[in-house]
Symmetry: C2
Subunit: 327 residues, 2 copies
């Protein structure tokens, strides 16, 4: 069914306040959950909200904690998230990196002991709304084998790159596996094959069968050996810069909490919007592969979904919506 954005927002906020979260934190977290559903990223919006509440009850998320700066070197700050809600800390970290960048061209915050940021794109949109370019990264629990290996010892460690633009920001939000476990499960439930290879089956053959891939745990890195290398580098960047937990340590702890992240913001003297428009127009000038295809820039469909949700209501899964309303 479709639910007005404000109803979704108010429901989330009311529940978070009931859990004991303070008003400021509850507002930020509710806005991010509602915003993710509004933008069509249901897996990290409404659908993830019950897990978030469970993690609070289990003590993996410390609702009373505040992130704090440990040290600072010029435009680079080092924070401890103290296991506060990840979206809260991530949005504070971006705001700080934006502030530093506006003064100094660049600003960076590296955070250890933080929690899942839900949709990474959120912080790209936030930086871009504030006129900044952003490059952000996080690590995750191990969910992908390295190239040459068959057991998952890499995370999908999403990378976010955002560039502000008057006609709709460019926001790339890219995990290092070709398909997330969420997507594999979604295909499995609806009995659909993947459109492209998503991993290997247990006999080591490339496969489009979501069930076979979930069973083998051999998901495919984007670009094969290339995405495997990029995933490892993302873990090195977030963990070594923050001094926080690695994919291996998160995995050993049994739950995806206490992760490591970084947020780089760039605020150039000039952003050359005309150049950005030229790049988009040139990319789109390619003939399409077939009538059903279109060429889109990163963030283009998000913006379209957002506008539709605000006009017509936000799509929610009836069952999960009822479950959340009862929380």
């Amino acid at each position: 069914m479709l639910v007005p954005y404000n109803e979704l927002l108010d429901t989330f906020k009311k529940i978070l306040l009931k859990e004991g979260m303070n008003g400021d934190k509850a507002s930020i977290c509710a806005e991010i959950f509602a915003g993710n559903s509004r933008d069509g990223v249901h897996s990290h919006g409404l659908n993830r909200f019950p897990t978030f509440i469970t993690h609070i009850k289990q003590g993996l998320i410390a609702i009373d904690a505040e992130p704090g700066m440990i040290s600072k070197k010029g435009v680079l700050e080092h924070w401890d998230g103290h296991l506060a809600p990840g979206m809260y800390t991530a949005s504070k970290a971006v705001a700080k990196a934006v502030g530093i960048a506006k003064e100094n061209g660049l600003g960076m915050v590296a955070v250890k002991n933080t929690n899942h940021w839900m949709r990474g794109g959120t912080y790209g949109w936030q930086a871009a709304d504030n006129g900044c370019i952003a490059i952000c990264g996080t690590n995750s629990i191990a969910n992908m084998p390295p190239w040459g290996g068959k057991e998952p010892t890499l995370g999908n460690n999403p990378l976010v790159i955002a560039v502000p633009r008057s006609n709709g920001h460019l926001v790339l939000d890219m995990a290092m596996s070709q398909y997330s476990y969420g997507k594999l499960h979604e295909h499995y439930l609806t009995g659909k094959k993947l459109a492209h290879h998503g991993g290997y089956d247990e006999s080591g053959q490339l496969s489009t069968d979501p069930d076979a891939i979930m069973k083998s745990k051999r998901t495919l890195p984007v670009g094969l050996w290339k995405g495997s290398g990029l995933s490892l580098m993302m873990d090195v960047l977030v963990s070594s810069l923050s001094g926080g937990r690695t994919v291996g340590e998160i995995t050993a702890s049994g739950s995806e909490y206490g992760v490591s992240q970084f947020f780089i913001c760039i605020s150039p003297a000039e952003l050359n919007e005309g150049i950005i428009e030229n790049i988009i127009a040139y990319a789109k000038s390619s003939a399409v592969t077939d009538e059903q295809s279109s060429i889109r820039y990163p963030g283009e469909s998000t913006l379209r979904t957002r506008q539709k949700s605000m006009a017509e209501g936000v799509y929610v899964n009836d069952k999960i919506w009822q479950e959340v309303q009862a929380l």
Copy 2:
């Protein structure tokens, strides 16, 4: 055949001096060409040297030019490369970004009107040798269709990420196409199929036939829609930050010159080498897919090739080596 590194270096330098390049510039360019061959990246070492000389003769590379700063905002500098040799300007830009980062945590140089940097990894190694993390990017001529399109309107726009490490730096040097045209051509010449899909044939089917892909010009982005998006974002970053030429403009000019690049360096108070070792060890703890496979971190094989080349001599293609010696 195998040639001592110093012989390769001296030969390149002598030719560059003969072409009228000054001593400092000739030393840097010769070291980069020789270093690329030494590290096993022949396509951007010896094998590319004749093209470099041709580009100098055609005036696409201005050997007398010096890159210069246009403006500065805090730790972010904006340079004009004035079409000087790309490797020279890139190494100067990294050196500057390293210097700024050592003082301020981060430093960045965005460069317009520069030239091909040959192997991007070179500048990652340079930053890491100086104790800095680096994130660098460049654009290129259009050589890859965007996802959903069938004509090349994206570049392969390499991304470099480097992290210093006592036992051998981590250096990822990743173009956004699964296989470069150089690799396709190499397979074609030796009559080999690609090990994985490298693009589409003219009928729109995924293919491992290098000739069919070169004919269709439909190379495959890493991670399909994901690498297509990342390539577009790289062009946006390098071009909008530098105010330089886009992939579309480089392509329209008919030659791959006058490109746009950026160099970010990060110098944290602490680099947590133990964390980096843990990440590498954990990744390598996965069982391998078969006896021939191994799990490697980005830069691992480069270092091995380098050590072998220095001990036994640098591999050169006999014909190209003769051709270069006659220049």
